[in-house]
């Protein structure tokens, strides 16, 4: 549900860019995040959120960013900065201690997560899943791989809908879903059994359907409206790939 609704339609140049270029960019940011020092990680995260604003997806990106990164960032800072015993622990107030190296480490870990999260959110909110799939197909990626990406997005809604229907049906037949935590756990178990068996039956049926419609019968498929691509974007992708290879080599040899 969350996944399928992150995408915000728009007309910015980031929206119009080929999804392969965007995913290459995303991978470059992820690789680079392992080389940047803590302050740079946070600055680049902020820049990415600003790009989101400029592309008209700022609202959706920023609240998700805050929602997802805040608990983690807080936990990392508290754990590394104040709980994990380190040699440079300094007393602050009563029993509360802090460690400078611990805080630095927390800033590094938190910054990396923040950067990866911000850039992933920017990617998914400017890329329609359907366009990504068509780009992968057009680039002749194996159809199975793109299916693996697509089906959770599509089936998740259906799955939650079915869970609700089963739960409603059970409640009308007298299954109580509120009350003590134990009762709720029981209700959850009663919900999971039909949900999983029906999902398995569906999966088997759907795999027959896919085979019958010729899915993976050939190693590639025709794409009737591939996303636009330009020579510049192709050049950019190759350059980013070379850059990532250099970064990786540097990290390994360092």
């Amino acid at each position: 549900m969350l996944n399928s609704s992150i995408y915000c339609p728009g007309e910015s140049s980031l929206h119009r860019a080929n999804p392969l270029t965007k995913s290459t960019g995303l991978f470059t940011v992820v690789v680079t995040s392992f080389l940047l020092p803590p302050p740079a990680l946070w600055v680049v995260s902020a820049i990415i959120l600003l790009i989101g604003l400029a592309c008209g997806v700022g609202g959706s990106v920023i609240w998700r960013y805050v929602l997802l990164s805040l608990p983690f960032t807080l936990a990392v800072f508290v754990f590394h900065g104040a709980i994990l015993p380190r040699s440079d622990m300094q007393p602050v107030l009563g029993w509360l201690h802090y460690s400078l190296t611990g805080l630095e480490h927390a800033s590094l870990v938190g910054g990396r997560i923040s950067l990866i999260l911000a850039s992933s959110l920017l990617f998914v909110s400017t890329t329609a899943p359907a366009t990504l799939l068509r780009a992968l197909d057009a680039a002749r990626w194996p159809p199975g791989l793109s299916f693996l990406l697509a089906s959770p997005l599509l089936l998740l809604d259906q799955f939650t809908g079915r869970a609700r229907a089963i739960s409603d049906a059970q409640q009308t037949r007298g299954l109580s879903v509120d009350g003590s935590p134990w009762r709720r756990l029981q209700a959850l178990r009663m919900l999971l059994v039909p949900l999983l068996t029906s999902a398995l039956a569906d999966a088997q049926e759907r795999s027959h359907v896919l085979t019958a419609r010729g899915f993976r019968a050939l190693p590639y498929r025709t794409v009737i409206d591939p996303p636009a691509d330009t020579r510049f974007q192709r050049f950019l992708r190759w350059s980013l790939a070379v850059f990532m290879a250099m970064e990786t080599a540097f990290m390994v040899l360092r």
């Binding site: 599509l154 049926e205 759907r206 359907v209 019958a212 050939l218």
Partner: protein, 281 residues
């Protein structure tokens, strides 16, 4: 031509098909009727070459398309030859398309057909199945009947030589039913169509041949009328609604014509003809 030769299929605990033989020539329109659990869906799956293992146990016999078992054909050949429209449309949506139009193009795209061919097929099928107004919708948000029509359309877009439809009318309103039948009738003359149903009403005026699946055996009693009036068939699937209605009237009052098994109406068209005659008499 599809041939089923003495097919014996069962599940761990029970036998479902106990020696089914059937031969369907090019262009035939077949209806196979049977009650719940009579094995219609099982037979449909075997006809389409979907099962050859899993929980199904094949004890004897098999299916041949033009003399060869399905396993001898490539997946591309099979996709372009046989399409099965299953009983539960939501299970038959690929899960790979984000819109109705993409879902219809999905099969042809998989076969690596030329670009223009796919677009033509997609647009023709959308129009033929009255799905144009839904072209941009997410398949999983369609109603049951709309999904059913989408699954039929997706199968037709592959231009199969054999279409098998498992209870295709259960979700459709009367208008969509007759429209689906007319779409099937408009298929090229060399396409064979097999419809599985529990109820004779919709398929009667459409089918050239009528079979009944009962207790693991399939039977065709000479002609459609003989099949429908067979006592075991009456007991399991019942007579068509029109026929039942005429029998009821017959019991109450004598009518102009002497109605018997040989001339009782089976379809609305036949009933209307009888009524017109009795009115003018």
């Amino acid at each position: 031509m599809i041939e089923v030769i003495d097919l014996h299929v069962g599940f761990a605990s029970s036998d479902v098909l106990k020696g089914v033989s059937l031969r369907v020539a090019q262009g035939e329109r077949l209806a196979i009727l049977g009650g719940n659990g009579s094995g219609k869906s099982t037979l449909a799956g075997w006809l389409a070459g979907w099962f050859s293992g899993g929980t199904h146990r094949l004890t004897a016999g098999g299916c041949l398309w033009n003399g060869k078992p399905w396993d001898d054909y490539t997946l591309v050949e099979r996709a372009a030859t046989v399409q099965l429209v299953g009983q539960f449309p939501a299970q038959h949506i690929s899960g790979r398309a984000f819109t109705v139009a993409e879902e219809i193009a999905f099969g042809p795209e998989n076969l690596g057909l030329p670009h223009e061919e796919i677009v033509t097929r997609r647009d023709e099928t959308l129009a033929a199945c009255h799905l144009e107004h839904l072209a941009g919708r997410d398949p999983f948000t369609l109603s049951g009947g709309e999904q059913q029509r989408l699954v039929i359309a997706s199968a037709l877009a592959l231009r199969p030589k054999l279409m098998i439809l498992d209870e295709p009318f259960s979700n459709l309103d009367p208008e969509a039913r007759s429209h689906t039948l007319s779409v099937l009738n408009a298929l090229p003359a060399d396409v064979s169509v097999i419809i599985m149903d529990t109820n004779p009403d919709t398929v009667l005026g459409w089918a050239n041949r009528l079979f009944v699946l009962h207790e693991g055996k399939i039977s065709e009693f000479g002609n459609i009328r003989a099949t429908l009036f067979d006592p075991t068939v009456i007991a399991t699937i019942g007579l068509p609604a029109v026929t039942r209605c005429f029998l009821e009237i017959e019991r109450g009052s004598g009518s102009a014509e002497n109605l018997s098994r040989d001339n009782l109406p089976l379809t609305f068209v036949e009933a209307a003809a009888i009524l017109r005659r009795s009115r003018s008499a």
